[in-house]
């Protein structure tokens, strides 16, 4: 059976890739994708900890399901915002979206 640390390793790798995407990309859609990666890394951790530590308690699974839902909602809203910005500014580059800056 695959040991726990492997799952954690995959989770950490995914999280790091996501974090890099969020920090380094200039395209708002890519940033959003990075966020999704980070959320899924968390989900992997949640499910792995559930399976290895408290298999009789369903709360780990339930929590993961909630994270999916929230992530989906967040993506929907985020994409809607990005599309709205694109329609107005003809760009999705985050440096150019600086109306509120001094």
């Amino acid at each position: 059976m695959v040991p726990l640390w492997m799952f954690l390793l995959v989770g950490a790798a995914l999280f790091s890739i996501g974090a890099y995407g969020v920090l380094a990309r200039r395209n708002a859609v890519a940033i959003l994708m990075g966020v999704e990666l980070m959320l899924n890394a968390v989900n992997i951790n949640l499910v792995a900890f559930w399976r290895f530590k408290t298999p009789l308690d369903m709360s780990g699974q339930a929590f993961a399901a909630f994270v999916f839902v929230v992530a989906a909602a967040e993506t929907a809203v985020g994409l809607a915002i990005i599309i709205a910005i694109y329609r107005n500014r003809k760009t999705v580059q985050v440096e150019d979206i600086d109306l509120l800056r001094l």
Partner: protein, 816 residues
């Protein structure tokens, strides 16, 4: 405690409520007015010579009606309740000995004790409850007519309601402090009402004079109240005055100051001084004649029903305390009694002499009031408790009557003046005058004969009218005999004469009141009460008591002068022929007009009482009359004496003081008639008294120069003191000097601090914001607006914190 107003113990609470509520309602709800330029088309020109060219607030018609309705409702309610209590009380056998109507509630806590406030109806209150509401009601009815055209009528009704409410509060009060509250509210009301026509400088000056003069006395009275409370711990009348132990204790305690006096006497003297101010006794009488500046119903209120009666009422009320330690009936006098006897006796004569030489119809009455109050005061000083109360009641009736009748006379004269003003030019043509509306005719149906006389007189005088028809409205002064005055004075008796024809009802009632004042024997109320005072003083005289002898002599002379000036007034006003055009045209607007009815109905009511009120107090051993009116005992004396612990003795009938009463009253009236009535004064003829008295007449006319004396002795030094000492020396010299010095010191300190301020404080306070600014300028660089940069920082921070947690967890594990 169950409050049940059908219980007579609680009912007296309601007596003052009506007028007090009326005051609130009128003041808050009905005092609406609008500003209207004063023109001759308003009918209040007679009262308000100074309104010309001003904007005056005129009460709206709704407010007029409402204020009358509300004011009358309050007065009627008070009257009905008071008489309900009165008739219940007089049916009780020996009322006042054990039974009184009283109830109270806690007012305020004073340390260990609680001060209670409440109502008390005992025999003295009962007789006041007969007189006061009746007089108040008459005055209210009269005011409807008298103030009908006044622009501030609602204000008048609200104030006079408050006045009445205060008087009734004072009457039903069961303790000295509540009495004092009513007393002071009346002082305020008298101030406001004397100064009611405050456009006139004389009116507001008189108001201030009345207020300050009475204030002097009130402060001293308050001292007495406070001293009494500190000694006994209560101010309840029943607890102090109906308790021989307390009275004895007070009489035996030496006073704080004035070593020779007992505490009771000192308190008594303080209270008497309060009354000297309130009841206008010498030397604080000066405010009362000036109080005539107010509207006439107010004069009646002040002089009969309320204010001055309140002063006498207060000392009658406190009489057992004033008397404590002495026994005037056996010649043992204590300080307050002697003070009252001397002041009262002196004032009675003093004011009577002044009244002799006055020409103003109201001033004569004002001085006669002072004189009559002196009678009461002197009587009380002799221990004639019942006689003083009796005279208070009868005097209230005939003096209210006289004042309101004189108000009618003045109103009639103003009407005449108005008529001459308006119609002076037209009256040369009688047929035109006849075409005027009835209401504008001087005396229309009240005296058709005079109206006829008018026309014929104008016919003779047509030449003069042609001459002044060309003048403007003031032209009438040209042809009057008193043209030297410039302004016509409707109160001057020298301008009157023959008014019995134009205002017969007023004339008749005025004469009844005058005869009662003069003490016309047997049929008037004034005779019986005055006779009782004289009898009491004569009784003491025969025993050889000094104060009695003094009072007897003074009062006989005063009574003689009273009869004389009354006869003079009646003759000058009503007998003979009119001495001016105004008198000829005087009238109250016809018998059916509202003014005529409301101003004369109360006169008739009061005239009845001015005649019959004396019969309740006829001594039972008086020949014939005693057998008719008081077969068993003197009812008034009998009823009142149960309010006291020691029943005042009845004086056996003695013919000599009665003869004196007859003599002075009839003699004075006869002399007055002989001088003024037999051959009435012609127009422009000087007063025959001037020739007889010579320079004394001038002195009397100027009121013994008391006002001038006070001007020199008190007012001018006070003004000099305030100007020279207070203003120039203390204020500008000392206080300003100190202030300037302080200012200079502080300027110096300020200069020093300014330097300090410039380098240290400014340095610090400029440095801090500059530092913050610089820091901010540097620090704001990290706020780039790049979210990714923020997240990077946050990530690094999270990693660092996580690292710290792990490391510290490792340490803890290692340590644990």
């Amino acid at each position: 405690m169950n409050v049940n107003f059908s219980d007579l113990n609680f009912l007296p609470w309601l007596i003052p409520i009506g007028p007090l509520l009326a005051f609130l309602v009128i003041t808050l709800a009905t005092n609406r007015s609008r500003l209207v330029p004063a023109t001759d088309s308003h009918e209040y020109g007679g009262h308000h010579p100074d309104y010309d060219g001003m904007l005056v607030p005129v009460v709206t018609p709704q407010s007029r009606v409402l204020s009358i309705v509300v004011g009358m409702a309050g007065a009627v309610a008070a009257w009905l309740i008071a008489w309900r209590v009165f008739f219940a009380a007089i049916r009780v056998e020996h009322f006042g000995e054990e039974t009184v109507y009283t109830s109270g509630l806690n007012w305020m806590s004073t340390g260990l004790t609680t001060f209670r406030m409440g109502v008390l109806v005992d025999p003295l209150t009962t007789v006041m409850l007969f007189m006061v509401p009746l007089a108040v009601l008459c005055i209210f009815i009269y005011s409807i007519g008298y103030m009908a055209h006044d622009p501030r009528q609602a204000r008048f009704f609200s104030l006079i309601s408050l006045f009445a409410g205060a008087m009734l509060t004072l009457v039903v009060a069961d303790n000295l402090l509540l009495l004092f509250v009513g007393w002071e509210i009346m002082g305020l009301c008298s101030y406001l009402l004397i100064g009611f026509w405050f456009e006139k400088p004389s009116a507001y000056k008189a108001a201030i004079k009345a207020f300050t003069t009475t204030r002097i006395a009130d402060v001293i009275m308050l001292l007495g109240i406070v001293y009494l409370y500190s000694l006994t711990g209560t101010l309840n009348f029943r607890d102090i005055l109906h308790n021989q132990a307390v009275l004895d204790q007070l009489a035996n305690t030496p006073a704080l100051i004035f070593g020779g006096l007992s505490a009771a006497s000192l308190i008594g003297v303080f209270l008497v001084i309060g009354t000297i101010g309130k009841s206008a006794q010498f030397p604080l009488h000066v405010w009362l004649p000036d109080a005539m500046e107010g509207p006439t119903p107010v004069s009646a209120m002040i002089h009969a029903a309320a204010m001055v009666s309140a002063g006498i009422y207060a000392i009658i009320r406190m009489y057992p305390l004033l008397e404590a330690g002495g026994h005037p009936h056996s010649g043992e006098f204590v300080a307050p009694l002697t003070l009252m006897a001397v002041v009262g006796g002196f004032t009675a004569l003093f004011a009577a002499t002044i009244a002799v030489a006055q020409n103003d119809v109201k001033k004569v009455l004002a001085y006669s009031t002072i004189s009559q109050l002196g009678f009461m005061m002197a009587a009380l000083g002799l221990g004639a408790y019942v006689a003083a109360t009796f005279h208070l009641i009868t005097h209230a009736f005939f003096k209210a009557l006289l004042f309101m009748a004189s108000g009618s006379v003045i109103h009639a004269m103003e009407h005449g003046e108005h008529h001459v003003h308006e119609h002076g030019g037209h009256d040369a043509h009688p047929q035109l005058a006849g075409a005027h509306p009835v209401a504008e005719l001087p005396a229309s149906t009240e005296s058709a004969a005079v109206a006829h006389d008018d026309h014929s007189a104008h016919g003779h005088d047509s030449h003069g009218h042609d001459a002044h028809a060309a003048h403007d409205t003031h032209g009438h002064a040209e042809h009057d005999d008193h043209s030297a005055h410039g302004h016509f004075d409707p109160q001057d008796m020298m301008n009157m004469g023959g008014l019995r024809k134009t205002i017969p009802v007023t004339a008749l009632t005025f004469i009844i009141g005058g005869l009662s004042l003069a003490g016309f024997p047997l049929i008037t109320a004034g005779f019986w009460s005055k006779d009782e005072i004289l009898a009491e003083s004569y009784h003491g005289l025969t025993e050889g008591f000094g104060p009695h002898a003094f009072v007897f002599v003074m009062l006989c002379l005063a009574a003689f002068l009273t009869a004389f000036y009354t006869a003079r007034q009646l003759c000058l006003t009503f007998l003979g022929e009119p001495r001016t055009e105004e008198a000829k045209h005087s009238g109250l607007g016809g018998p059916s007009s509202i003014v005529s009815i409301t101003m004369q109905l109360p006169l008739v009511v009061l005239a009845v009482f001015a005649l019959i009120a004396g019969f309740v107090g006829v001594p039972s051993d008086f020949p014939l009359f005693g057998a008719i009116f008081s077969p068993e005992h003197n009812p008034f004396h009998h009823f009142l004496s149960y309010g006291l612990l020691i029943e005042p003795p009845t004086i056996a009938f003695n013919i000599i003081p009665v003869l004196f009463s007859f003599g002075v009253a009839l003699g004075g009236l006869a002399l007055g008639y002989a001088m003024y009535g037999r051959k009435p004064l012609e127009a422009g003829e000087p007063d025959p008294l001037i020739a007889i008295l010579g320079p004394l007449h001038t002195t009397l006319k100027n009121k013994w120069y008391i006002d001038e004396l006070y001007q020199v002795v008190f007012i001018q030094p006070a003004q000099w003191f305030s100007r020279v000492v207070v203003s120039e020396f203390i204020d500008r010299g000392v206080i300003d000097g100190i202030l300037h010095l302080i200012a200079r010191v502080f300027t110096f300190i300020g200069d020093f601090l300014k330097v300090f301020n410039l380098w240290l404080i400014d340095g610090v306070s400029d440095g801090i914001p500059m530092g913050i600014g610089n820091f901010g300028r540097w620090f704001r660089r990290i706020q780039s607006g790049r979210v990714q940069q923020y997240i990077l920082v946050a990530l690094i921070a999270a990693l660092l914190i996580g690292l710290i947690f792990i490391v510290s967890a490792g340490f803890i594990q290692a340590a644990g």
